[in-house]
């Protein structure tokens, strides 16, 4: 009922040039985003994030599959959909000789039911830089101006493609606050980002893309819970690896011991009780749940493994 974005069987291919074969950047996506939700799309460079977001924004038609934004096709019903959505592209698009205010004014003039340009600038904290030309703004300020343009039409669905790239930590926090308050007002937000802590902090749900497909999705908690936690310590001197408790699946390299577990509390308790019974000190003890970053790197790593395997078989499947 409250679905803002519905995606089914989405594919996007780029035509090859001359003898080069085409390239399929998006290879069958299915997902939906509820109204008022922050949905983060993660992936390594070339995973197909931007290709996907461009389709959601209606900048290009999908090769196949279906997209509904607020119940409408973002490409074919572009004129109806656009007034309801706000878009921030990955890279600028600001005339370098116009001031922030002039740019915001131009954008407001092109937008239905627009916020006054001064208000849009104030939202992103640029009111003090209104009369500075874009070329003299810092990279982070240009990003925020771009954000202000995306907010001009009071969008119900907002697309942010790497919104905090180039921002200093302070400005990044301010942007996060803004994203949260927009979400609280009911704005649906699709976010792509390179910063995994950003996705962890903002996303209600997220999807990790690899090679045009979604490999993992869910709430950040679900995604992280699906991966094992990790305990590390140094093997106490004079102890052989075989003397570690057998119930713990430990990997030992030199003296470094690593235990992976789905149940951190039980495993850790067992380890600590064993250490006390043995009277040994576990140097450099470190226990942690999987972070989003670890999940991400692990998936990227698996993908590289697969790629190496696939490289040998590639020839026949290319078409």
């Amino acid at each position: 009922m409250d679905t803002a974005i519905e995606v089914q069987g989405l594919r996007r291919s780029y035509a090859g040039r001359g003898s080069e074969s085409g390239y399929e950047a998006v290879r069958g996506l299915d997902f939906s985003v509820r109204q008022g939700e922050v949905f983060a799309l993660l992936g390594t460079n070339g995973a197909g994030k931007t290709s996907t977001v461009e389709l959601l924004e209606g900048l290009a038609p999908p090769t196949s599959g279906q997209i509904r934004i607020l119940g409408l096709d973002p490409f074919h019903d572009r004129a109806v959909v656009r007034p309801w959505i706000g878009i921030m592209l990955q890279e600028g698009g600001l005339p370098s000789e116009l001031t922030a205010l002039e740019t915001a004014r131009m954008w407001a003039g092109c937008t239905t039911d627009a916020r006054p340009p001064e208000e849009a600038l104030a939202l992103v904290g640029l009111e003090g830089r209104a009369d500075v030309r874009a070329k003299q703004l810092s990279g982070g300020e240009r990003r925020r101006l771009d954000f202000a343009l995306a907010l001009t039409g009071r969008p119900r669905v907002l697309f942010l493609d790497e919104p905090t790239t180039g921002l200093d930590p302070q400005a990044r926090r301010t942007t996060w606050e803004l994203v949260r308050s927009l979400r609280d007002e009911g704005t649906t937000i699709v976010l792509t980002t390179h910063y995994l802590e950003e996705a962890e902090a903002l996303a209600d749900r997220l999807a990790i893309m690899t090679e045009g497909r979604i490999t993992v999705s869910g709430t950040p908690e679900e995604v992280m819970a699906a991966r094992p936690s990790r305990i590390r310590f140094l093997l106490p001197p004079g102890l052989a690896p075989a003397q570690l408790p057998l119930s713990l699946p430990a990997a030992v390299h030199d003296r470094q011991v690593e235990i992976r577990t789905q149940d951190l509390q039980t495993t850790l308790t067992e380890l600590l009780l064993w250490a006390r019974a043995q009277g040994v000190v576990l140097e450099a003890l470190d226990a942690r749940s999987a972070s989003l970053e670890e999940v991400f790197l692990e998936i990227a790593g698996e993908q590289n493994e697969l790629k190496r395997h696939a490289a040998a078989v590639q020839g026949g499947e290319a078409a």
Binding site: T3, I87, P95, E97, E102, T103, M106, T112
Partner: protein
Amino acid sequence: MSMTRSEQPERTAHQSHRTTAVVSAASVRRMRALARAELTLLVRSRTALWVALLMPLMMVLATYSATEEMDLSEAGLSQGEAVLTGGVGMVLLVVIYLNLVPALVTRREERVLKRLRTGEIADSEILMGTALPTVTVALVQCLVLVVAGTALLDVSAPGSPVVLLAGIALGVAVLVLLAVLTAGLTKTVDSAQITTTPMLLVCAVGSGLFIPLEIFPDAMTEICRTLPLTAPVELIRHGWIGGLDGTELASAGALSLAWVVAGVFAVRRWFRWDPRQ
């Protein structure tokens, strides 16, 4: 189909308002907003101002002194008539074509065009809004030529203003389209100086602006008659001082329109909105 509509009736009313009733008014508002920004950019660029204001003036003056030696009797024109009617075409050519190409290339390379396309403004509105300031500057200069010529140079006032205006309008349309197409072929702002030269020379020499087409060999004359700017220039000249019969008038109008239609098709097909670098 749309959940939004059933959920939020008050915005539904708004939505239809957004799409149907006021399409043209909204379209004008968007183009005006873009044109205002573009005018600011024009005024801030010394090069653009030079090309828009001083260059056409100098070219008209230069041709005036150059045509003093020329025998224009074959074309049946006085020197003042030749320079002024050609001058209108020249102003349109220089001001619109030479300004719009680098402006569009700059906007494209700065990703401004790409950014604009994410908004509500339509593609055609982006191109027209961008062209509006230079077109206005060109039209004001044409007006100056008509008024100054009539008042100072002993040239009669335009005989058929409607034909004159139609010629100017078609000339503007053809040149805007040519500029958009040239911008599509131009990689950087610097190379715009090179990419604009061929069409500039062809139009300046072969469109009958100052050099009567009859002085070329016959085959050349025929080719020149079909050039994009030739027919609009003929209409402008006829609108001011006459010289065409009804058939010639109709064929000049039809040829101009054909170029406009071909231009629109070519722009839709080949214009590049995304940066080339």
